[in-house]
Amino acid sequence: MSLEVEARHRIGAFTIDAAFTSDGNVTALFGRSGSGKTSLINIIAGLLRPDVGRIVLDGDVIAHSRKRIFTPIHQRRFGYVFQEARLFPHLSVRGNLVYGRWFSGAQKSSSEFGRIVEMLGIGHLLDRRPSTLSGGERQRVAVGRALLASPRLLLMDEPLAALDEARKAEILPYLARLRDETRIPIVYVSHSVAEVAQLAERVIVIENGRVQASGDAAVILSQPAAVHAMDWREAGALLEGVVESHDSAHNLTVVRAGECLVRVPQLFAPPGHSVRLHIAARDVMLATARPEGISALNVFEGTVIDLSPAEKGSIDVRLRCGGNVILARITALSREALQLAPGKSIHAIVKTVALDHAA
């Protein structure tokens, strides 16, 4: 999967001038409100025709302003979950859901329909009109509509913003499965680092219409300074790991990341399966000596790489632990108390429950 996007466009006083390539299955677009995320997605979908632009998906040139190539929207087959639901008011929920099916060559089987409807919890709404749905219900139907259109690329503009955490926790793993199994690439706009950490392989940070940073999710998510837009509280490190074993009695899974064994709440992936762990900096505690008798199950030995300058009394400490880079956020007071400095060896303590992202 590879997606190349290049666009320059003026709308009113706003200029978008962004270029990125992504070879991840899920590319997250991050940026503050008004930074141009929706505009960029509209350009990819073909709804906005940029002054200058180029879109290439898997070597297939979708649009190229210099070569005068512009694939019509309906031939792109890019499923789009809009920021507002945009349901068809004259069709029932069912009519909305199956709308794309009429046009997609590859028909989703009806078992797929049932599965998606159940995951989204909209089975009881099928015969209702969109105007009678609640905000979250509408958004769920919109997600279902895009998924059922058998797209070759999914564009999702804050698809889960209006949903409760429990529902998010049902949809996110589905999207992760979609990414892994059907390998439909996804471009995902979200303000939530938790969502992005779970899904995205590549992160693009947009600021004022320009790409501010782009790259591997693990790298970008651990550079909070670059990420003005994301939840500062959720900055942290992404670890690539492999499922080592399960402890069903205690609902735990052990993941090997580099040389560290990380105990996390049970994952439903077979041993050997690779997973990614987001460890928020604020969840990492540091100790000069290995603590005893504590509830935290993960204690990693490491050395301090560097320390960020203090921001609002907090300092982010980068550690190297068994081949991983981990970020820990501590107070300036603690830094003094523990006399932290680059090269110092240290223990990082992480609670298992803090690694439970999907509730």
Binding site: L47, G79, F82, F88, H90, W102, L155
Partner: protein, 230 residues
């Protein structure tokens, strides 16, 4: 109130003329409304003007123009008669044409108003789901402008029921062929003692139109309920 044979014929003819006029002007009205609402082209104001012409000119003039164009000796009339065997002059089809032309601006306006109110974002959404322009039109635009279409059809039908100026000028007042209710009413008003007859026919005309109106209101209510903004 029982109807004489001649009156009954006029009623049937009126219904046929009005229905055919309404239905046949719908496709071109839709197209014209679409072009006027969405198009960006040089002669748009001119097209818009032409569409409104039957409203602006006295019906008699419209009738004469139709007679000159679509009459047996008119350029279009002769062409259609020679090549397709379609004859308008002094046929009920001519009455239908006259009514269709007279109702055309009303239909176009209503439909155009609805088209301009359509949220184009919904059409975009349909396109992202794989619907090409024609399908978007059929599956999204058309259902959304249904209120406008219905309103346009009502106006066209009602206008056709009441039209006589252009009709009588274009295709005369031939019983059983071009004598619609309103033409018959007009004829009654032109002779002494015709008032009672005119009144009778006017009442019939009003009853028919009322029934058609109520029917259409029911349709419109259903259509409105279906397209409430989400």
């Amino acid at each position: 109130m029982t109807l004489s044979d001649a009156e009954w014929t006029a009623v049937q003819l009126s219904l046929r003329v009005a229905t055919v006029a309404m239905l046949c002007s719908l496709p071109p009205a839709l197209l014209t409304a679409m072009v006027l609402a969405r198009g960006r082209f040089w002669g748009k104001s001119v097209l818009n003007g032409i569409v409104h012409m039957p409203l602006v000119l006295p019906p008699v003039v419209t009738g004469f123009v139709l007679l000159l164009l679509f009459g047996r000796r008119g350029p279009i009339g002769a062409f259609l008669a020679d090549n397709f065997g379609i004859v308008f002059s002094f046929r009920w089809t001519g009455a239908a044409l006259a009514c269709a032309v007279m109702g055309f601006p009303l239909m176009v306006r209503s439909i155009r108003l609805s088209i301009e109110a359509v949220d184009r974002k919904l059409e975009d959404a349909a396109a992202t789901l794989g619907a090409g322009p024609a399908w978007v039109f059929v599956t999204v635009t058309l259902p959304l402008i249904l209120p406008g279409i219905i309103a346009g059809m009502i106006l066209s039908f009602a206008k056709a029921m009441g039209e006589f100026g252009a009709t009588i000028t274009f295709v005369s007042n031939i019983p059983g062929e071009t004598q619609t209710l309103s033409v018959a009413i007009y004829a009654f008003t032109q002779v002494p003692g015709g008032d009672a007859g005119a009144m009778r026919l006017a009442i019939i005309s009003v009853i028919i139109s009322m029934a058609a109106l109520m029917l259409s209101e029911i349709f419109a209510a259903v259509a409105a309920k279906r397209s409430v903004a989400a």
